[in-house]
Symmetry: D2
Subunit: 505 residues, 4 copies
């Protein structure tokens, strides 16, 4: 069985569409940014896609070594700061054209009021023993960054206070009032360093977000605290089921899932003071666990294509969690394809979702069509670009035939298409067919990389007086990028492609 749809774009049409997919991307904890494998995956991502900011946890965790102390002559503990690793990480980001979206957290052990930790890597999630020590450290860091990287640059780095404090696992007791206190101390301290810094919160995940965001805004309003943007997260799967090292789950219906996002916008806009304020989705993905095989599939790529067509409507940015699979929240992965969050698998193998982002990066211009399976833009030069997908959330396994009519005057065209589907670009399947080797050999990596690329096709086309017709057949979970470019055809003296095709002497 097969689905079929027609898309007819009329001349002069224009559809609101904000492509902000490259504003920010997520990462495993800061300390992992020292890794070579991390760097290489990020370099691939930046070379092909190119994000502006990067956001991750663990800036103040002990492996980053910022917070140090010694006893002075009187036996008093004196804090001092070590920026060796911070600088190494920031240098590395900047060398790749990236800037941080600073998430302030978690708590250095020396400053922590308790010893509750989160994750395999044990981030301390308790409030500071002394809030002034905390703000002194935050300020020292910001002063240091400004000194090293320049005010002009550093003031553009957004700052977010903590991560998902509405969850008990991320913030002791999920204590809302304590978080507000943290926000207050921190925001005031940041603005004291320089009022031009942009700061926001409360970085909540879905679920309890309604209460938290309303209460947070009320608190901020009441205390006249600085606030430049609101942040929240977005995931789109049901509760997963565990089996061994892995967790399996199903995707939400996309529309249902987006309704949950609208509440935040509504709450924010209900405040006169905050109406229209930027909302950054500082994390999003399909599943929220880093051992969910779904992340490695073509379905994930197709679902993400659909999400990216919509997320810019109400959000200043949306940061895919995460760029790569160097990640340790549930421990070090046992195998290459383990359902990690990343667009890139270990070994620098792009997953299908990587290409969804690479394709969206090309979507500049005026949007002229957006539907549940396609988005098309027109460039100032009249050429077209589009992304098509055949998301198969319900495992129906049906291909999709798309007929597209676009306005054009009589002209010669070249139709470029890049296809990522379960047949032509499915590294997960290849790896499975190889026997699911835990760690890959050089040859296996090479083969996977050769395979994990879009299938490129070109076609010569001619438009009629009014329109040009193109058509595509999308396999289940296919994502296709196309460009329709006017070309001037001219053959060199004596050259005949037709003669070659026919083998005429």
């Amino acid at each position: 069985m097969s689905k079929a749809k027609s898309i007819l774009v009329e001349h002069g049409i224009e559809i609101p569409f904000h492509n902000r997919m490259d504003f920010c991307v997520g990462t495993g904890r800061m300390g992992l940014a020292l890794h070579k494998e991390y760097y290489e995956q990020l370099k691939l991502v930046q070379n092909v896609i190119g994000f502006k900011h990067i956001r991750g946890h663990g800036l103040f965790c002990d492996d980053m070594a910022i917070c140090q102390s010694y006893e002075d002559e009187c036996g008093k503990q004196v804090f001092e700061y070590n920026f060796t690793y911070v600088d190494r990480v920031m240098d590395s980001y900047i060398s790749l054209g990236l800037r941080p979206f600073l998430e302030l957290g978690f708590m250095p052990e020396k400053m922590a009021s308790g010893n509750q930790t989160v994750f395999y890597w044990k981030g301390n999630v308790t409030p500071p023993k002394n809030y002034n020590d905390w703000t002194a450290m935050v300020q020292a860091l910001l002063h240091h960054l400004i000194e090293r990287y320049g005010k002009e640059d550093v003031l553009q780095w957004p700052i977010e206070v903590w991560n998902e404090p509405n969850l008990k696992s991320f913030w002791k007791d999920g204590d809302m009032q304590e978080y507000f206190k943290l926000y207050e101390y921190t925001a005031l301290a940041v603005k004291e360093v320089n009022p031009a810094f942009k700061i926001g919160g409360p970085a909540v995940c879905g679920g309890t977000d309604k209460i938290w965001i309303r209460s947070f805004l009320e608190y901020v309003r009441e205390r006249k605290l600085p606030l430049d943007f609101i942040t929240r997260h977005h995931y789109a799967t049901f509760l997963p089921e565990k089996s061994g090292h892995y967790e399996y789950t199903k995707l939400h219906d996309l529309k249902e899932s987006f309704k949950l996002l609208e509440t935040t916008r509504e709450i924010v806009d209900s405040f006169d003071e905050f109406c229209g304020m930027d909302i950054h989705i500082t994390e999003f993905n399909t599943s929220y666990v880093p051992n969910c095989p779904l992340h490695d599939t073509n379905l994930n790529a197709a679902y993400t294509a659909a999400m990216l067509s919509l997320l810019g409507d109400k959000h200043a940015s949306y940061s895919y969690w995460t760029f790569g699979d160097v990640f340790e929240e549930k421990g070090v992965p046992f195998t290459t394809f383990h359902g990690g969050f990343g667009m890139v698998a270990n070994g620098c193998i792009p997953k299908p979702t990587f290409w969804t982002f690479a394709f969206y990066k090309q979507l500049q211009g005026t949007c002229i069509h957006r539907s549940e399976e396609a988005i098309i833009v027109q460039l100032p030069d009249g050429n077209y670009r589009g992304i098509l997908w055949n998301m198969d959330v319900n495992y129906t396994d049906e291909p999709l035939e798309l007929e597209i009519k676009l306005p054009s005057k009589h002209a010669d065209y070249c139709l470029i298409s890049k296809t990522v589907d379960e047949e032509c670009c499915n590294p997960l399947k290849l790896w499975h067919d190889m026997g699911e080797p835990a760690n890959l050999s050089t040859e296996q990596i090479a083969l996977l990389k050769e395979h994990a690329v879009p299938l490129i096709k070109l076609e010569s086309m001619v438009s009629t007086e009014l329109e040009i017709d193109i058509s595509f057949k999308l396999k289940p979970n296919a994502v296709i990028y196309f460009e329709l470019k006017k070309v001037e055809r001219k053959s060199d003296r004596g050259y005949s492609y037709e003669r070659i095709l026919k083998g005429e002497k």
Copy 2:
């Protein structure tokens, strides 16, 4: 319509097959080896395929600047030799793992007896004014090479005297006796430098080869001259027809074409003294003109696959003419795809034939099947590798279905296939669809490179108790490489690929 064949390989079978495709490759004139584009194409070829020797014309042409002279105090012309460019070229070859197959020619102007030249780049093809000056130069060069690169290395470089002297355009009047004189002087001079050098000739093209080779061997026998191997060329197309900058032609029937090759072997073996002597085909290709669009096609790749399955039977080597499209014999090409000899088009774009060579490079092991559309080997570890092709010389446009049964005991396999056909890897078509741009932009080159790669697929397979069955469908002019590898399948604790496929939570 579609053709279908079955291949049944029985246990224990062994077929004589000599895979010598990587012994030597051809190149445009030596002076072009100084070019950056040349180097990059050759680097690509060496990285992916890896030849041992390289042979081209023009070593002694004036752009290589070897032969210089000045007047001494008495006004006498004194020859001196400049090895600056020779060294630069040899250094470059060696850095890429290559050694020359030295072709001695053409004539430096200062030594030439006439001014007849060949090619756009004007190689002088007349005998030396003074044979002693010629041999002095040859000896000086060999001494210099030994000093710079070491005896052990240089003595392994085969030496061939001149190129296609049976053609008037390559050797004044096609004068056979004069060539024999050249050979005699040169061979003796070379052996004087070191008797361990291997020297051969007469480097003739097809057509008049019978008379030439017989006469040459008689001359050598009579004069007791050194001779280590015989050389000739092989092309497989009819007389081309010209149109503007291009020449169009048709391929010979492969079997007919190979008959022409057998005569040389027979003639050589008819001499007691030379029976069994190595014959090197120092040039081969489909068409013998560098502006024949056929070279850029998938048909060329399929035809070459067929040739490579056979050429080793009677020849010590066969050197594809040429590795790349930096070439000027008929002038500088006007466009990127211009029907050049190369496996690689300008811009470092691999043509389909490039992959035929890349695939053959993998064919180590024992040959267990060879037919008109397939060759299969078995490795010592029991795994299989094969190359399949569907050569469509008559433009019938029929696909080919191949069923292959290979001996095996019950085992898990992974079937890797790499397909190059007119749909998935056809850079010529892409370039045509782009509008046949003369010189490519960076973006166009990138797109062509992304496309001009084999399509990689993998499949999990299980053999029966006795055999394993695999099947392929080859589009017209497809060339497919496959590997059938035993794998040990083991999944990590909790990992289920089936569960992912079904989307079970």
Copy 3:
């Protein structure tokens, strides 16, 4: 014996100084730009120095293959143009951040009225048979460049008509009137393509320049021809003496030499219409032969340092002839160090003069001192940079001691110096000590590169209330670059450099 000088810079001083050393650099003929060695040398030059334009001969010579022709059905010769190599060269330049300074010449053989050639590489120097064919070719080239590289970019590429037509060897009979005709046809044709192109001439060498420039300007004025700038060349040595492959010579006194340059400025300014018009020195160097060992010496570096301190005073640019030693005007060099024009020797070895340019590239800011041995600038941040030299034209072998007092308030400084002299950075001597090997081994190249770098030293300094004193001792022909930077000294807790020096436990 030793010379000593004091330099006292008072507060607030400002000296006119135009550092235009990076506007343009010279190159061997265009066809050589296809070479790999050429590219690597140019890449080194661009990485370390960074020029904006590049100018060389031979754009229309036959190895660039632009001018082609065929016979049409009526047997008439039709010209057609091949831009394959032009594009390859321009792509390469642009990839290195360079743009051409287009020199239009020499004559394609198919268009030439005679067969007089210049150089080992045989550039045809006769007028066109038909001036309209010539201008058609020039226009076709410009149209093509605009199409490929964009109007915005290409219109910034200066255009010069021919090279040194005042010499019989470069222009048949040195025929002035014929050159004016060439200029007239060419300039009008160029402006027809786009009036925004900047065009100039007459590209004369010294000697007969007075008559030529005056007559040229009169001609241009009379015929109301377009003219955007005047060009001439400048060399600074006496007639060389030949010995074998080499030519030896002595340097002019620098001041005398500069007087010869002033005449051009005076002549130009004597015309109301051209007063103040830009003069580009489209070639300069010490000696004007490419086999003059002087070019490889530290003396050449010191003399060039002196020239660069002055050339900007009256000239819009001055283009060092040439960036590298891939050059064939007198034939292919027999050895690595052969007195070539280049800043870089074959093998990518920087010569001393390379560093003179690298140092001048750093001289941004306000000039506060210029003398016969030094030039010093102050940056907006108050730091200083300077270049010092001890040019030993008369081979007196005396060192030079320089005391420099610069204005400053009490501050901590770091004095960075980079020294290039006959002891620490003299690759010519190393090569000589190696035994003057013609072509270098990889190991020899590595050793030469390790040596051919400036000696780096740093020093901690403190200024008094009013000034800071620094001093240098320059060996003969030394060139020293220094930076005097304010630093904030702060040691980490417990760190004591003094303690380390004394070895205190």
Copy 4:
């Protein structure tokens, strides 16, 4: 004041000397081998020096994530092993031409009997709760390595049990009997995997080594345990004094220091069963703390030069602790130059000691001189290589003049010297003069790298009938490498270096 010495080498002399400096090098804990900065430092070390093995702590520490566990259905803890990071580290080593010298330790938390830890990075130093769990893990690792890297390779990797168990900080209570138990269990388990593995211990530091080694050997003898080599460490400084983040100390007298090493040899040789057995110094350096500024000095380079001339006499290898400054035992360093163990400072800046190793790597051939300031070898081709040093342990600041006479027949020579001293190659001083910046900018790193290289000089020399005389002046703590190579001097036609020097026209 200045010291002067003469070295006279007579013909035919031969001195026993074993240059085993490249057998092994030390590293910070295994987990750091995932870092990019670590990789780049190691790559520099391998490119220039090239070690065969690498040894460091922390293979089984939790950041390597090998030891994992889960509860089975019955609630029983089941151990499982994760080799993701091990493989990544080993792949990285192998890509750099290195193999591990496996040190088995410390204790994974899940297996540990206590919670005592060592270092900032908290390596657990308690015995296993269950020795069988420990040996199962060791065996699983070895089986895995063999499977991945091949038996042939992995069996060449030496295995050492634990690190410095004679210190309470490294092994709970410094309990000797418990260590013997650990050794026994481990050695037997290793040999069970494959008897060809080479295993050793007891990896003790100096001080208590006498008792430990004797008792260890007695235990091994009595229990007939496998033992392939003995290991110990060697440091050469007095107890350091602390100040802030740093520790200052003085060097032992070299001879005294070496006496301490002899005891081990004597003890081992006193056992019939072990007499002559290989002793590996699995760690050596000057100071044993990673925050001792001495490590960054030229004195350290000179002292190491002296040590390397002697260490091979009685030891199968001696592993410099460590190759680079990515190291965390006392925490993350606050500044670039912090007295780390490494040959390379963070930012990939080679320290003086780096060059000592680079120089020793060239010392192949027959030793013909060894003294307190020099070691000289002769190569089979008759050329000489040597290393000279002027170790200034007592801070006398005296230069050293060395006159060296070497046997030779009349021949032309080229004397190459590479000097590392406090003036020409002293990055510590440069960094100090820069103001001791904690973390370096790209420009500062570039400047330090330009400086931190040996000064290269060449000289032409001629020997007399019998000998050749060379002389050197060594600044305090200078280390000089020289090569004295025969050269054949020949100048190209017309080339005269003397004429250039004199500036003759």
